[in-house]
């Protein structure tokens, strides 16, 4: 009898604890991992070997957040910057997209130049025949409507296949 009741008790206790957790505001607790607020959408590139080609690296900013563009309006703001380790690749002509206007609605407000949603950084890449990895990091500083996180660097790692 005891063996039968124990699992039943546990099964009933879990939803009770969950309900109590919500009632007490437990789900408001900041559980967000020290995660990135930008993700890399490009994981591989197929190129023609030994020929300069224009490619785009796609990134996406987490909904509800914005990051400064490569050329923010205020000199105190931290620009988004992609730093790549070329290795055996030849990389040139790195181009950032223009930012979008964003109005920070606090007090008198402030006009910002930001990236939201998806944005792409263009590069001209020349790769030798074979497989290699393009690696580096995207440094950015994210905010939402009321607060900001310190600058972080998103690791960038892209498999390059040149034939």
């Amino acid at each position: 009898m005891k063996r039968t009741l124990l699992p039943l008790g546990i099964a009933l206790a879990f939803p009770l604890i969950a309900a109590a957790q919500i009632q007490l505001g437990g789900l408001d607790r900041p559980t967000e991992a020290k995660k990135q607020h930008v993700e890399l959408l490009t994981d591989s590139l197929q190129l023609t070997a030994n020929k300069p080609q224009d490619v785009e690296l796609r990134f996406r900013v987490e909904p509800g957040f914005h990051i400064n563009s490569h050329k923010p309006k205020d000199e105190l703001l931290i620009p988004t910057e992609l730093k790549l380790d070329a290795g055996t690749l030849h990389i040139a002509n790195q181009q950032y997209p223009p930012g979008q206007h964003f109005r920070l609605q606090i007090g008198g407000g402030e006009d910002l130049d930001v990236y939201q949603g998806e944005f792409r950084v263009a590069l001209r890449v020349e790769a030798p025949k074979g497989d290699t990895t393009l690696s580096g990091g995207l440094r950015y500083q994210a905010c939402d409507n009321a607060a900001c996180f310190p600058a972080r660097t998103l690791p960038v790692k892209i498999a390059i296949t040149a034939k």
Binding site: Q23, G25, K35, A146
Partner: protein, 196 residues
């Protein structure tokens, strides 16, 4: 039993949604009164333990001001104090700081002291001073020290403000910029909390 659980769950979700909506409208992050986990949380937000300073003694610190002079929290014993963590690269911080300036003047007669703790790691004293001047604040600005930020829960989410009464107790904590009215209400609450 199952019916009770269902009712509790529904009521909790409803309550949570309501509080979140209020919070979003106010641009303030809700801070749990009794967080369950310890400072080992590696959240992108400040450590939960830091949020739990309300009602406790404000952690002591000694930092350098913009002239290099050492300033301790204990220097302001008997005063209501606002300890505001900010950074030069934080837009919301810069927008709320003029309000602290205004309120520091308005409530000076009641002893209010505002301390702005820069979180600009690696920035020079001159960089921080230039930024403070540009923002238009003249209250005490202190240079960063990671150990102090840790005492206040990590402060990985700016602005973060601790309202401390005359007895040195943390009356309230906000993460994110509140409205000007909310900020003033918190200051008044802090002034009233420790007795005049």
């Amino acid at each position: 039993m199952l019916g009770l659980v269902a009712v509790l769950f529904w009521a909790g979700v409803h309550n949570l949604r309501h509080r979140r909506a209020l919070s979003e409208a106010n641009h303030i992050k809700l801070i749990p009164a009794a967080p369950a986990s310890s400072a080992t949380n590696d959240s992108g937000l400040p450590d939960v333990e830091g949020y739990n300073l309300r009602g406790k003694d404000a952690p002591s610190f000694t930092l350098s001001d913009l002239s290099g002079k050492k300033v301790s929290l204990a220097d302001f014993k008997g005063h209501p104090i606002v300890v505001n963590f900010w950074a030069t690269w934080c837009g919301p911080c810069k927008l709320e700081m003029p309000w602290f300036q205004e309120f520091s003047a308005k409530y000076r007669g009641q002893g209010l002291e505002v301390l702005g703790l820069s979180q600009d790691d690696g920035a020079s004293r001159q960089d921080v001073a230039d930024a403070a001047k540009k923002i238009g604040v003249t209250y005490t600005i202190l240079m960063p020290d990671e150990a102090v930020a840790k005492k206040y829960g990590g402060v990985d989410y700016l602005p973060e403000t601790f309202y401390i009464d005359r007895l040195g107790k943390v009356v309230d904590v906000t993460a994110g910029a509140p409205s000007k009215d909310e900020m003033e209400a918190l200051i008044r609450k802090t002034i009233a909390a420790g007795g005049a």
